[in-house]
């Protein structure tokens, strides 16, 4: 029997929490831990356990869990408890179709407004990705690269949705990147995209972006299909 390490132990607490903002601190901490993947999906979130961990009563934990549930980061069943929500279920095609729509538009709106500083920052992300080995950091840099390119789009609501999609992908990559060698072709896409964006070639940029996303989707879809058949064998 393999030892099952408790994922909650990956949550680090820096000193005692000021009492009057316990709930918000707990919510933030847990959300970050879920998004960057330290809490794998399926992890059970026991109220008492979390309360002891944070050094408070169950009360602020309960409210934090409710908020995370409303953000669909947790699945909660009455009298059974909360577990970290699954990543991308059977709808990766839908997810990526939506991302293409949103990110294409964001890119279209943003390109004309991008400054040299923005482009430099995007390039810095690519260069950093070149040598980075830590998956958490890779996910962060990937998200940052894309957000820099979209960031000047004058529509905050659109950008919020885009960032949501990227967060979801970041979470997914963190777990599955090593299982599917996406890294190199992804970097080529990034360089090509940046070059087109720098030349303000809007439609060509969008086309490259769509291909980039399409590739990501296909990799994930085949990966998920693989898991599925493996599951079947296991059953």
């Amino acid at each position: 029997m393999t030892q099952k390490p408790n994922p909650l132990s990956s949550i680090k607490i820096s000193g005692p929490i000021p009492a009057h903002l316990a709930r918000s601190v707990i919510e933030e901490t847990l959300r970050n831990a879920i998004l960057d993947g330290r809490l794998p999906c399926g992890t059970a979130m026991r109220q008492q356990e979390l309360a002891s961990l944070f050094g408070v009563s169950r009360m602020p934990v309960r409210e934090a869990l409710r908020q995370l549930e409303a953000q669909s980061l947790l699945h909660v069943v009455t009298h059974k408890g909360a577990v970290v929500a699954p990543l991308i279920e059977d709808n990766s095609a839908e997810t990526y179709a939506l991302r293409m729509l949103l990110e294409s538009e964001a890119l279209r709106l943003s390109i004309p407004l991008l400054t040299d500083a923005d482009l430099a920052q995007a390039e810095a992300c690519i260069n950093a990705l070149e040598s980075e080995k830590d998956y958490t950091e890779i996910g962060r840099l990937n998200r940052l690269f894309h957000m820099v390119l979209y960031g000047k789009a004058p529509n905050q609501r659109l950008l919020t949705l885009v960032e949501h999609g990227l967060n979801e992908e970041e979470r997914f990559l963190r777990f599955n990147l090593e299982a599917m060698g996406l890294g190199e072709t992804s970097q080529e896409d990034h360089r090509e995209l940046l070059s087109l964006v720098a030349q303000k070639k809007v439609e060509e940029s969008i086309l490259t972006l769509r291909n980039h996303l399409m590739r990501g989707m296909e990799v994930i879809a085949t990966y998920l299909r693989g898991l599925e058949s493996a599951d079947k064998k296991a059953v």
Copy 2:
């Protein structure tokens, strides 16, 4: 001094609430009341008041409020309480730009899959709107009409976002419809749109939809500008 009727009295409770699902019932009830406009934005949500109203303790109310906060239907300030979130702030242009993007795509995907039954249902909505005077019902019918046309789009996530936008508009209309005679031109738009959709003319339908949304946005924008200058005078 004018009598200030408590908006909470508009919430009807049908008998005592089964104890074990208090929180979910409260959350549902409040969300519906916010969305269909019985609780105007700015309404203060006192925990004790709601608890008495529902015949429970403050505890389930607190959790329900947290969830509604996470859905950005409430604005909560620590130690001050929750108020119903404002409808469309200074970003109606952004909101409508996003709606155009999402609903155009939904319509594009849905049209080829619409059945005669769908079209009949959409027409029924228009006819019902013809004579309807109650704003709550007008909002509901308007939303339903649009959702029927989009509904066959094979992307559940896209449809969820679309419905979110429509809910927001429904809330807004409920308050401001009488202040801005949008009703008639809106009906013309609806009929034209339905006719084009029935002929499966995808791009023409989308163009009509965009014009329809554009008109809505302009009406709201000028209305809000009016409010603004009125506010200034009031100060």
